[in-house]
Symmetry: C2
Subunit: 253 residues, 2 copies
DNA sequence: CGATTCCTTGAGACAGCTCAATTTCGGTGG
DNA sequence: CCACCGAAATTGAGCTGTCTCAAGGAATCG
């Protein structure tokens, strides 16, 4: 059930080559040479999931690995009593799955419609051994994720609710700027990919507290809301001031 | 200053070969063949730090990477106002530093006397390219650390103080058992490598709350204390019950 | 055995949680 | 285009777990 990808629409990317792939230069294949790309092209296949669908349950067998091509997905831990903590926010080019692991350690959920570029796990494991460029890129991506996780730990362990929200918005703003190839700063508008509840699961808060803090930032003019999901940041620098510090300090260093 | 390793005593391990190294089969060199070990042997050198010494400050230049041979070290983030969150607990065989990164992202501190087996960064980076066995092991270790960080995020974000303490003790017990090659379970005794304050920094609590929760577990007979640092766990299963669940569930699966 | 560091315990304050209405947004069908 | 509906978000009031501030007590080291 969990692995049953729903075909939403015929996918142009399935036909077109890796060369035109939107995540070509950020994903696990970023370092690949043209002939290596040809090999990948043989092995890859796309899967589609609707917003809200569970891609994999924690503990389920996972016979593929892959990259997010479009959309947003989350990794999360759930306790027996229902408490939930998000542990990964997967944007386009992020990698799902672990070579050498048969069972998923997390619940993986599509929060928007999602397209994955997948490889069956076994062939991909061979690929890693035979293609140093893939292994090297995967190591680098994993170390980036580890750093992000550790920054996140600082937020979870030591920041106030207000600082958590400010930090989260700043992270999104920075990622959005990077994705668009701009430098973050000044005035920006971001689209929240997550509901208040999902933000709460990200930040270790309740959805009510998230809502209250967002309202507070709004009332103080640090942000403006357009609908529920659109956030205007008139001055990113001022928002960063509210994060309590951390890596974000270097944002404008 | 930060990189000035203090020589405590002449070190036998400096003379003896990698073959006799206590972390030979867990560390980054675990997969190396005998001839590869010879190469490493040429490059490696040992450093010693006293308990309490800072090995590297966040932002400092780090011209080496290395493995913990003896002792315990921590990685931590510190905010401008002094709030601190530990983000890594490094035991023997754990790796310090990131290939390709010139500056340290964390404060690295020796909490006991520590011996590191080091490589200068540049040669090590070449080593990774030329020795797939090292690269592969490093990837695997990094992914293990990422999983540990994500488990830790669940603890930080969603668990109560009592559950945090129980989780922490359970993690230590499991690691200790693994290091001794035993299966965790039944009655165990562990040595806390950390002060109450360091435990608080690990768990995102204050030292007073840590102390109170440890006292509570003691008064309920879930643990016994021998001195400040020795903890008797009469029945690990019962302690696991108090962790609130998570990965620890599978401990006896 | 004295000193220092670490730990424990207490009392009061407060941030964030819980429970409970409303309100707003965004989509859907008339 | 408008009225309606359900999901998501907001806001309020009271509670509770953890923090803060403060005082004393134990372990470890010279």
């Amino acid at each position: 059930m969990a692995n049953t990808a729903k075909i939403l629409v015929p996918d142009a990317a399935d036909q077109s080559g890796c060369v035109d792939c939107p995540i070509r230069h950020q994903s696990v294949c970023a370092f690949c040479l043209p002939d290596e790309l040809d090999t990948l092209e043989q092995l890859k296949y796309h899967r589609h999931y609707e917003a809200g669908q569970t891609i994999i349950w924690a503990g389920d067998e996972m016979n593929f690995v892959g990259s997010v091509v479009n959309g947003v997905a989350t990794l999360s831990h759930t306790l027996a009593d229902g408490r939930k903590q998000m542990v990964g926010l997967l944007l386009p080019s992020d990698f799902i799955g672990r070579p050498g692991r048969r069972l998923s350690s997390y619940d993986v959920t599509a929060v928007t419609d999602v397209t994955l570029c997948c490889f069956r796990r076994k062939p991909f494991e061979q690929l890693i051994s035979s293609t140093p460029n893939v292994a090297e890129r995967l190591l680098d991506m994993s170390l980036d994720e580890l750093e992000a996780a550790r920054e996140w730990m600082l937020i979870l362990g030591r920041k106030s609710a207000r600082e958590k929200i400010a930090s989260f918005l700043t992270i999104l703003a920075r990622r959005a700027a990077k994705a668009e190839g701009k430098a973050p700063g000044g005035a920006m508008t971001i689209d929240l990919p997550l509901t208040r509840e999902a933000m709460a699961d990200y930040l270790g808060l309740t959805l009510e507290t998230v809502s209250r803090q967002i309202s507070a930032l709004k009332n103080e003019g640090l942000i403006r809301l357009g609908g529920k999901r659109r956030v205007d940041i008139p001055d990113l620098r001022r928002l960063v001031t509210e994060t309590g510090g951390g890596t974000d300090d270097d944002l404008f260093a």
